[in-house]
């Protein structure tokens, strides 16, 4: 395949994949929701869990976006330094967004700031949003697609604590978001927490945290402990599905961290709603691909 043909083929694959993830939840999220439904004891929450399940079945059967808010399209790329289309990937992903908008169809969710005009294509200045990491020496690329809906984006917050506030301050920050904007963000949520050095590094890590599986566990024992404490603690608040009370408020809490300045604790939160639409695809150097987030996919 020459370069142009390879780029066209990949654009096509990624357009279909982007549209696909708006209709079907990733396997880990699906499994977790069935598990939470089984555990739930609150009658209102059970009714809501059942409508959610009915909705996903209908979306699959009718081949429609399961939630009308198909979000701003974001791609988180881990590209091998030897990936053959490294230089073309940015325009390929823009093409994929345009294609998915037709195939979905996706809602038009790109409004140019200050112009205050909806572009009608889901593309615009720096949109789709791209986040890059280079994997030295490899020739494949892994792309995470995320549909950043309005509801689950609204609770996003970042701040810098003083060391005196400690990890107690981190917990307080997360709980405060949960009892304010969090309960309107379509729980049960996947909560991502970034613990880092400054506002923007923590924010990026908190977003990376919700791209990890709902069952992920931080490798650092103390961080994993905080994940568990926050999961149990938030569930104990009793917010429940849709914030209408219930036993299960989160699908999980994932923490990502970095080293920090001795004088600061940067902390941030990103939330994924119950309709957590993300997908992960690995693209090999020959443009063959493997879908890692969903089972039994036909694009």
């Amino acid at each position: 395949m020459d370069k142009a043909a390879a780029a066209e083929s990949l654009t096509n694959t990624l357009a279909k994949f982007t549209a696909y993830i708006g209709k079907r939840l990733p396997t880990d999220v699906k499994v977790k929701q069935a598990e939470l439904r089984k555990k739930e004891t609150n009658p209102m929450a059970i009714e809501i869990f059942d409508v959610m399940a009915e909705n996903q079945e209908a979306a699959d059967k009718l081949d429609r976006p399961s939630c009308q808010d198909t979000g701003v399209i974001q791609y988180f790329i881990q590209a091998g330094s030897g990936f053959p289309l490294l230089g073309e990937l940015e325009s390929i992903l823009e093409g994929a967004t345009l294609g998915a908008t037709e195939i979905g169809p996706l809602r038009h969710n790109a409004v140019e700031s200050f112009e205050e005009k909806n572009t009608g294509t889901n593309t615009g200045s720096k949109i789709p949003w791209l986040d890059w990491e280079i994997i030295p020496g490899e020739d494949y690329a892994i792309v995470d697609v995320y549909m950043a809906g309005g509801g689950c984006t609204l609770p996003g917050a970042s701040t810098v604590l003083m060391p005196g506030q400690g990890y107690e301050g981190v917990a307080e920050f997360v709980l405060d978001v949960m009892t304010s904007r969090g309960l309107n963000a379509c729980p049960p949520l996947l909560v991502g927490v970034g613990v880092s050095t400054s506002a923007e590094t923590a924010a990026r890590l908190s977003k990376k945290a919700i791209l990890k599986p709902v069952t992920a566990r931080n490798q650092n024992e103390k961080a994993a402990k905080l994940e568990d404490l926050l999961t149990d603690g938030i569930n104990e608040l009793g917010i429940g599905p849709q914030g209408l009370t219930g036993d299960n408020t989160v699908m999980g809490v994932n923490i990502e961290s970095s080293a920090r300045h001795p004088s600061t604790i940067g902390v941030a939160i990103s939330t994924g709603c119950w309709a957590h639409r993300r997908g992960q695809i690995k693209i090999n150097a020959d443009m063959s691909y493997e879908i890692l987030s969903h089972e039994d996919v036909k694009l």
Partner: protein, 202 residues
């Protein structure tokens, strides 16, 4: 038996409804969200749809335009209602709308508006946009299309639209405010417990 509201809705239809009740809607349901609220209240533009006794949906759907120029509802679920809190009390007063459907709770201003003008706010489960779309029989009109797909006022004929969980009743009771108080009360003890366990800086 399912409780069904039909548009036009009267104050009497709502008098017995209490927060936590579940109802369904038959009739006309108009999508109305951020910019439409701002245009009516702040910019003082007349709404192009008569909402007296009507129902609005805080929603920005996915709509497909067919070859003959008509519209098909693909996916329509609620958006975060709290964004409209700033405008809703005045919106209810000016339009005479009786039923506001959305996601999550609304605040004290909307609750006051519901009480003084006899309206209710109800929650449709968020993210369940295909279930909702299957309750839309037809799109009968589209106003202010200059706002783009999410913000256009889509005029829908709906049947059995729900479940709708009443979150503010026409007596001003606010389910989310009651719940929020409980969540915040519990937060204190949860935080104390966690704080004991995370004294990692020594």
């Amino acid at each position: 038996m399912k409780k069904v509201l039909k548009t036009p809705i009267s104050a009497e239809d709502l008098a017995e409804l209490k927060v936590g009740d579940v109802v369904y809607l038959d009739g006309t349901l108009v999508t109305c969200r951020d910019v439409a609220h701002r245009r009516l209240i702040e910019l003082k533009q007349d709404l192009p749809v008569d909402l007296e006794g009507g129902a609005i949906f805080h929603a920005g759907p996915i709509v497909r335009e067919k070859d003959d120029g008509s519209f098909e509802m693909v996916s329509i679920g609620p958006t975060t209602s709290m964004r409209m809190e700033k405008f809703e009390r005045e919106f209810i007063k000016q339009t005479g709308v009786r039923l506001i459907i959305g996601k999550g709770g609304m605040g004290p201003e909307t609750a006051a508006g519901c009480q003084e003008s006899k309206a209710v706010h109800a929650v449709f489960p968020g993210g369940c946009a295909v279930v909702a779309a299957t309750k839309v029989e037809a799109i009968e009109g589209a106003e202010w299309q200059d706002l783009g797909m999410p913000e256009t006022l889509w005029i829908n004929r709906v049947k059995g639209f729900g479940p709708l969980i009443i979150s503010i009743d026409s007596h001003g009771n606010n389910l989310f405010e009651i719940n929020k108080k409980n969540y915040n009360d519990r937060k204190k003890s949860v935080l104390e417990k966690i704080s004991q366990e995370v004294k990692f800086i020594k």
